[in-house]
């Protein structure tokens, strides 16, 4: 009997605030797992630190709640070592684009076959309301930026594209079914698949409930970088859907035969 989405929940009660967007992401993940009929025990969900990064424990699967900003390398190490597992990295905008920004760049380039779900609420929820890289320049409520960030907001999808990601999508916590579909496709995609999820923080940025009115589907699924660039550039940051899909060879490319080549001991002998 196929498992239902709820069978993929661990039963541990999330620490999230009532109304937090992250609940919907959790639902979408379990829906996608059910739809793909993955075996829980062959799945590992890896995260950093943040409200969003608490997610792994709430899924019935293996999980790793690592340190802040390092979900992607931990996930890549796991996947390269254990290609038999389905590996999904999750986390927040602070985790992924601030402290973890370098790993994001290089994960896109390296193209290990994992899914990365960034739950973007444009704020540091866990540490109670500082600006994140995606906070709007004009947001005045960031606790360390009383004059606003005075910085251009980070563009996750544009950066993913410029860094070489082959699968780029945007989802919205207000649309868990649509998001589940994106996650399903990302899991099916061979290579690094990035999903940028607008996931509201009701506590520190309550105005994000207005996102409902702003999100809109994007037309088509660009399969060339130029088309994707045009789409991402023209979009207002609220376009949902697959923004780019263009598989490249995954890393590691070769799985060399164990025992191949000369015996390493031979090289030392006198």
């Amino acid at each position: 009997m196929p498992l239902k989405a709820r069978d993929y929940k661990s039963g541990i009660k999330p620490i999230w605030c009532p109304g937090c967007g992250h609940y919907s992401v959790l639902n979408a993940i379990t829906k996608a797992m059910a739809a793909r009929e993955v075996a829980s025990h062959n799945t590992a969900i890896v995260s950093g630190i943040g409200c969003s990064s608490r997610l792994p424990a709430y899924v019935s699967s293996y999980g790793f709640h690592g340190v802040h900003g390092r979900a992607l390398p931990l996930a890549a190490g796991l996947k390269v070592a254990r290609p038999d597992l389905e590996v999904v990295a999750v986390g927040g905008d602070g985790d992924g684009f601030s402290i973890g920004g370098n790993h994001f760049l290089h994960a896109c380039r390296r193209n290990v076959n994992i899914v990365y779900i960034a739950m973007d609420n444009e704020v540091y929820g866990m540490t109670k309301g500082q600006a994140s890289p995606t906070s709007p320049e004009s947001w005045l409520d960031g606790k360390l930026t009383p004059h606003g960030t005075e910085m251009r907001a980070f563009q996750p999808c544009a950066i993913a594209l410029a860094s070489g990601a082959g699968f780029i999508a945007r989802g919205y916590s207000g649309d868990p079914n649509g998001l589940a579909q994106l996650i399903f496709e990302a899991m099916a995609f061979p290579g690094f698949a990035f999903i940028h999820v607008l996931s509201q923080c009701v506590t520190f940025v309550p105005e994000q409930t207005a996102w409902k009115q702003r999100v809109h589907p994007v037309e088509g699924t660009p399969a060339t970088a130029a088309e994707a660039a045009a789409l991402i550039h023209a979009d207002d940051g609220f376009g949902k859907g697959i923004l780019y899909r263009n598989p490249r060879p995954v890393w590691p490319r070769m799985h060399p035969q164990a025992g191949g080549g000369e015996d390493p001991r031979a090289g030392f002998a006198l």
Binding site: G63, G77, N102, D263, L270
Partner: protein, 574 residues
């Protein structure tokens, strides 16, 4: 034991290092022993360099401070080596005569060899090969053997180049040696062929041995970021890990590297990284994650001069503090030190065993001197310790962080049905669910401590040479061990017995064994290659009842046997 120490120096491109390497290999192939240390200027290319070799009729493991023979291919910038290639009154110096020693370098025994002329006569520009030929003949090797080695080394070059080099070699070999040189080389007996049944002899560096040991113990995943002097360890791995069916990832930085290693370890695949001080400093946060989440991870630190960027190409043992204490929170873990070039194999393998067996972080301290010097060693047995990833066979309910007697909790690996859990660096209960409660914290802290404190590390925790009873003891680790043993031998020759205890297991420190062993020593001299006496302070913190004395000297100059016996001859040194 008879040994001969020679240095070959020259400006960039003169081929000093390769001449030294060829000579050591040639001498080793006929049954001789020796080791070679390289020293470079900060220039990447075009800078001067020197190979310092010690050849012997028995195993050789240190380079003495004074040299018997210097072959100066040229004198350009030689002054910069003055510290490392000191010429004494008894040093025989060969040069080409085309330039003169710099001011301040006034060899008493200076011989001119017209190497450029000899090379030119052989229609070759390879004057370093002229010297190689002369030295090969003086050491009693055959020209054919030397030529075989040379051809293997230059295999990527085209034939014309190769032939020219060989002609210079032959011409040098054919030279009549000047008397002082002939006499000096003749002091070293022609090595006897190795007796059958003896262990096979290898020529290898410590970095290579650490890499091989790790692979033979079961490492199948490596992630690292290049850094001197660990890069060549990684390079060797990159070229050989395929054979074992593993993968090496060149990570974007050390933060990525250590987290990748933790990911692989979580997956049940023995994994390691190698780095040096600055890189290990960057790993500090994630090393704590390995401890808290109880994930196996091996970090090899090939130490160089510190602090900060320090002296990247030279040896020091000053990362001990960082290795022992460099994590926030109470984070007990294992720290090992390799004792010799050959022991890098065993210690790396043991690290892999302990990390997997005890589900924790193991730091292996090596240093630039062990890591990058090459030495003739007995081939390590392939019966080294192995990874021990034991997947759990627990009854229900499965508790990942169960508070067991041993402190080692049952480990499930991803892929096992029914044992799913989320590893966590947040404090957690036995069931792996985050918990800020005092009793859970205490239980997990106790458990993580106990699994190391109560573990039986067996006899590998140190190597003792000599008898402690009523004798002075030299305590040391890493590359200082060989020097200590040489000091011991020198003192024995002078009728004074001392013991040498080289520590392989630094943390958890086997305090009981140490206290028992050292109780009857008359003096306890801790010798280490750093400025702050880090090992001495550490031993005092755990064994304050013992009157340790300290001899701590920073790099880059190596500690010399005479530093040690001078300290032991002085009244209480501290």
């Amino acid at each position: 034991m008879t040994t001969l120490t020679l240095a070959i120096s020259g400006s960039g491109g003169a081929g000093a290092i390769s001449t030294g390497e060829l000579l050591l290999r040639l001498f080793a192939e006929v049954g001789g022993y020796g080791m070679l240390k390289k020293t470079f200027s900060p220039q990447i290319r075009g800078g001067e360099s020197a190979a310092i070799l010690r050849l012997g009729d028995a195993p050789v493991s240190t380079i003495p401070a004074t040299i018997d023979l210097l072959v100066a291919l040229d004198w350009q910038n030689f002054a910069r080596f003055a510290d490392e290639v000191p010429i004494s009154a008894s040093t025989l110096v060969l040069h080409t005569g085309t330039d003169v020693p710099p001011p301040g370098v006034t060899p008493d025994n200076l011989l001119t060899v017209d190497a450029p002329g000899i090379a030119a006569a052989a229609d070759s520009g390879w004057l370093n090969m002229v010297f190689f030929g002369m030295l090969a003949s003086g050491l009693g090797c055959t020209c054919a053997a030397a030529e075989t080695l040379l051809r293997a080394r230059l295999e990527k070059h085209d034939d014309a180049v190769l032939d020219a080099a060989c002609r210079a070699l032959q011409a040098g070999f054919a030279q009549a040696l000047p008397d002082p040189l002939r006499e000096l080389l003749a002091t070293l007996p022609v090595p006897a062929a190795t007796a059958p049944g003896q262990p096979q002899r290898w020529l290898a560096s410590g970095n290579q041995m650490a890499a091989l040991g790790a692979l033979e113990a079961g490492v199948r995943f490596v992630a690292a970021y290049p850094i001197t002097p660990a890069s060549d360890l990684l390079e060797w791995l990159a070229h050989h890990i395929d054979h074992y069916g593993g993968h090496l990832v060149q990570a974007e930085d050390e933060l990525a590297a250590i987290n990748m290693v933790i990911g692989a370890g979580f997956g049940g695949v023995p994994a390691m990284t190698a780095t040096s001080g600055p890189g290990m400093a960057l790993m500090s946060e994630a090393m704590g994650l390995a401890v808290a989440s109880e994930t196996a991870a091996v970090v090899v630190d090939v130490m160089r001069g510190g602090p900060s960027t320090g002296i990247p190409t030279k040896s020091e043992q000053s990362d001990l503090n960082l290795a022992l204490y460099g994590m926030h929170g109470d984070a007990p873990h294992i720290v090992l030190a390799a004792q010799s070039i050959a022991d890098c194999h065993f210690t790396a393998a043991w690290a892999v065993h302990l990390a997997t067996r005890l589900q924790t972080l193991v730091i292996v301290l090596s240093d630039q001197s062990l890591g990058q010097s090459i030495q003739v060693i007995d081939a390590p047995g392939s019966d080294c310790p192995r990874a021990a990833v034991n997947s759990s066979q627990e009854a229900e309910p499965y508790l990942r962080y169960r508070d067991t007697d041993s402190g080692v909790s049952p480990l499930a690996l991803p892929g096992e049905p029914g044992h799913m859990y989320t590893a966590d660096g947040l404090e957690h209960g036995e069931n792996a669910i985050p918990s800020p409660r005092a009793r859970d914290h205490r239980m997990q802290l106790d458990k993580r401590w106990r699994k190391l404190a109560d573990w039986d590390f067996g006899g590998h925790w140190a190597e003792l040479v000599g008898q402690v009873d009523q004798r002075p003891v030299i305590l040391c680790m890493g590359s200082v061990t060989a020097t200590a043993l040489e000091a011991q031998a020198a003192m024995a020759a002078a009728g004074r017995e001392v013991a040498v205890l080289s520590l392989r297991l630094l943390a958890p420190l086997p305090t009981k064994q140490l206290a028992t062993l050292l109780a009857s020593g008359t003096r306890l001299l801790v010798v280490e290659h750093n400025h702050g006496a880090q090992l001495w302070h550490y031993l005092r913190s755990l064994l304050p009842q013992l009157a340790f004395e300290s001899l701590a000297l920073p790099g880059p100059a190596a500690i010399q046997p005479r530093d040690i016996y001078t300290a032991l001859e002085a009244a209480n040194a501290t």
